[in-house]
Amino acid sequence: MKTECYQYFKNPLYWVVIGLGLAVRTVLAYLDGRYRGPQFWELAADFWNKTGSVTMGFLILLVMIRRFSFDTELRTFPIINSTSYGRFSLFWNRLIGGGAAVIAAGLFLYAGNIGISFLLGNKIDMPYGWTNSFSCATVIALVGSVGYFLMSAMICDLAKNHPIAMCLCGLPFASSYFINAGAVSPPDIFWFLRYGLFTELVRGKTIKSFPAFWFVWYIALIELTLFFVIRKRKERKEL
């Protein structure tokens, strides 16, 4: 597991995406401080809603899930698959290692946002309890990001094709930014797209409508995807 976790951190793109996310946040924080001073801390707390979640989405889809298809793309698959621990245990280790790398990325972004906000907003009074509320949003975003990573990684493992997995997981993720939460209601498909694929959690928000349903749904979604992965791996002799 340690080896697999290390492989994520060793990937320069992992750091490039995090760096770009924080660079965008720096520019936005500078502009917020200059032109929207009174809302500076409110906007800083809203980090996960836009910049943070988009960074996380890019990180997961562009960089992290590729590990689940690149043995096929690079033709290393027969070598890996003929080793004792190159089948399901490797998949499992990549999943757990990836989960840990997602949490680490979330924590880097969390620390980065706090650092940037303190540096650029030091002349603006920070509201009481800001750190607490941002930390709570971060915990929700981390849970959502790990869930979204697990789902996307397993879809990539099923498809064994990174671009296809990116489209399958990225389109609903992107569309959720364009769906107005106030304008959708159950059992509308847009309501489902907005809440059903971890997006709301990645954006650091709790789901207020039918939370118990979504809790069960997310667990079922991960289990169902895992079930299909196991079935497909059995078929492909990768178990």
């Binding site: 690079l74 290393t76 070598i79 890996i80 004792s84 621990y85 190159g86």
Partner: protein
């Protein structure tokens, strides 16, 4: 230790790749010989548990390899015919990674990686990224990864492809040294490699085994059937149309043609000692 193929068949959609293969292998080097599409790669993939047979099973000391799973793969080293590497890894990192997947301890992985890189002549390139390696160098990395973990069963598909003559000789030496306690199966189109290192040759044609014999026995079978004829260039075409031809040498307006024929093909024909290429032509020639 013995490995038994029990009534193995493999059908891909409507194409029969292997048909009722029964084969027992014990320690030694087995050379798999056959034309393209004979089923060599399929037999190797079944032997490495990468593909399920349509019928039959492969048994290692009486146990089904599909049931043994990781316990079987612990004993296995595999070099595929067409494989890739991680371009951003160095040769050392790649071997260490595979060693970890084979379950070697950190210390053992490092020790074996260093030894194997030296064995395949890549110790100076150990810390270079694989994306800069030539085809032959990648092939040597492939050979090294197959040998990690000192596997008891070694399956190598076209191991000498892309190697220069010096490297081929080095490879033969490695395999000969390792073959005492192992089952080594290798397939190649370079018949001289088989002649040099294989204890047994498995002849495969259209998914069926034609014969399993020692190289010397196979050569004995065509003893007295190989002829050399020196003819004018104009008469060359007529001869090679009539008889399977394993070589033509043009010198001073004449052609020296090497033919296979049960009877003396013409008055001037001189008998020759058979080699593995003649044998290949005998079994697989049109």
């Amino acid at each position: 230790m013995n490995l038994v193929f029990e009534n193995i068949s493999k059908v891909f959609q409507e194409t029969v790749a292997l048909e009722k293969i029964d084969l027992t292998m014990s320690s030694g080097v087995y050379g798999l010989l056959g034309p393209n599409g004979a089923g060599k790669t399929t037999i190797m993939k079944i032997m490495t548990d990468l593909v399920s047979p349509s019928t039959g099973r492969v048994l290692l000391d009486g146990q089904d390899i599909a049931v043994m799973g990781a316990n079987f793969r612990k004993k296995l080293g595999y070099l595929p015919q067409d494989f890739g590497v991680y371009p951003n890894f160095t040769a050392e990192q790649f071997l260490l990674y595979i060693a970890r997947l084979k379950g070697l301890s950190k210390y053992e992985a490092k020790r074996q990686t260093d030894d194997l890189l030296a064995m395949v002549g890549l110790e100076e390139k150990a810390r270079k990224k694989l994306k800069g390696f030539s085809g032959g160098q990648k092939q040597r990395v492939g050979i090294a990864q197959a040998l990690l973990g000192d596997p008891e069963i070694l399956v190598m598909d076209e191991p000498t492809a892309g190697l220069d003559p010096e490297e081929r000789i080095r490879f033969r030496g490695i395999i000969s040294a390792l073959s005492q306690q192992k089952i080594v199966l290798l397939s190649t189109h370079i018949v001289s490699d088989i002649e040099a290192i294989a204890n047994q040759v498995i002849l495969l044609k259209k998914g069926s085994i034609l014969d399993v014999k020692r190289p010397a026995e196979l050569l004995e079978k065509i003893e007295g059937m190989v002829w050399s004829v020196t003819v004018d260039t104009e008469n060359e075409a007529e001869l090679i149309q009539k008889f399977p031809c394993s070589n033509i040498l043009h010198t001073d307006g004449k052609s020296v043609v090497r033919l296979l024929s049960e009877h003396k093909p013409c008055a001037e024909a001189a008998p020759q000692s058979p080699n593995m290429e003649d044998m290949y032509l005998y079994y697989f020639g049109q």
